[in-house]
């Protein structure tokens, strides 16, 4: 079984792994990963929302799609091919960003917010959310049954 949620953005590559008793966020580096654990027993709430990453879309449009379209009108065969390739990459990226959108998973623990924001596939987020909610409920139910009374 591999990681549960992975973001392959150029900057700030992160992975999220659901273990038996905690959620682990890994910020990948070249030689080591920074890890952060969120124990299920202490999680107050999980809030998930998605929004369209306008900045990324604009960057893709300005750097890839628009130059591609401009190259199409130069009339040169090499420029046309380059324009088609560049434009196709730009449009594909924009469609991908519109489909996935930027997902934020907010974990509230002891009143403090911990946000995990990146572009994840919606299907992956759904299955991750289901497993996370079930894991937290199971652990918190077992903790409240087994711990000594206060």
């Amino acid at each position: 079984m591999s990681v549960d949620l992975q973001s392959n953005s150029t900057f700030g590559r992160i992975s999220i792994v659901l273990m038996n008793d905690c959620l682990i966020k890994l910020e990948h580096g070249w030689s080591e990963d920074r890890t952060r654990r969120f124990m299920y027993e202490g999680i107050d709430s999980v809030v998930i929302w998605r929004k369209i990453p306008w900045v990324r879309i604009m960057v893709c449009a300005v750097l890839l799609a628009l130059p591609g379209i401009i190259l199409l009108f130069l009339g040169n065969i090499v420029a046309t091919v380059c324009g088609i390739v560049l434009g196709a990459i730009g449009v594909a990226l924009i469609v991908w960003y519109l489909y996935c959108r930027s997902t934020t998973i907010r974990i509230v623990r002891a009143g403090k917010n911990h946000d995990l924001t990146s572009i994840f596939r919606p299907g992956k987020v759904r299955s991750f959310r289901d497993r996370l909610v079930v894991n937290i409920r199971t652990i918190q139910a077992s903790e409240s049954n087994t711990s000594p009374s206060k």
Partner: protein, 204 residues
């Protein structure tokens, strides 16, 4: 039963209003039109152990004048009670110190890292394909290749010992790295052998 805190609402990320999600988790904020999902849980409440009250002759905590001092802060040298004491790497610090001057120390203490020998192997292999840098990297393969193999076996050991690392590094990655390292070694040995044969043949 353990002490649990039942969470009944959450703050809207858009306008910080208190919201209550429906049974499926979906929420729409009526104030700012924020749309999302929220799941509320019942976390366990951590019980704080109370510090002993100081007797007239006993040293008291600097931050809790009525509490008995049980330690000395390694950062400031102040008397601190059991409520203030935080142990980091065998040393006791005061919570006040960690919250002010010792913030870096506290940050580093709770910072956890996971070693990734496989990423370093990938870095070695990537250097082979970077122009100009590969002119240096290829002749020096006899230095970094053994290190890459050492890292590979380290990654295998980590996979056995650490369940998190095993989740991160699947079998396909392990196999791919082994194949790539073997091919690079084979290529380098073949290259060196070809050079030796070439120079020997020219000498004759």
């Amino acid at each position: 039963m353990a002490a649990v805190k039942v969470i009944t609402d959450f703050l809207c990320p858009g306008c910080a209003e208190h919201l209550i999600p429906n049974s499926s988790g979906a929420v729409i904020c009526s104030y700012c039109a924020w749309k999302g999902e929220a799941y509320l849980f019942s976390p366990r409440v951590l019980a704080a152990t109370s510090a002993d009250i100081a007797l007239p002759d006993e040293a008291t905590c600097l931050h809790h004048p009525r509490k008995k001092a049980t330690a000395i802060c390694a950062g400031t040298g102040d008397y601190i009670c059991s409520l203030c004491a935080v142990e980091i790497n065998g040393q006791t610090f005061g919570a006040e110190y960690l919250n002010s001057a010792g913030k870096d120390k506290a940050g580093k203490a709770f910072d956890r890292t996971l070693e990734r020998p496989d990423s370093r192997i990938v870095l070695y292999l990537l250097l082979l394909f970077i122009p100009y840098i590969n002119f240096v990297v290829i002749p020096l393969a006899f230095v970094w290749l053994p290190h890459a193999f050492y890292l590979y076996f380290k990654a295998l050991r980590l996979r056995r010992e650490n369940p998190l690392y095993r989740r991160l590094i699947g079998t396909p990655r392990v196999v791919t790295l082994a194949i790539l390292l073997f091919l690079v070694t084979l290529g380098w040995v073949a290259g060196v052998a070809a050079l030796v044969i070439y120079f020997l043949s020219r000498r004759r």
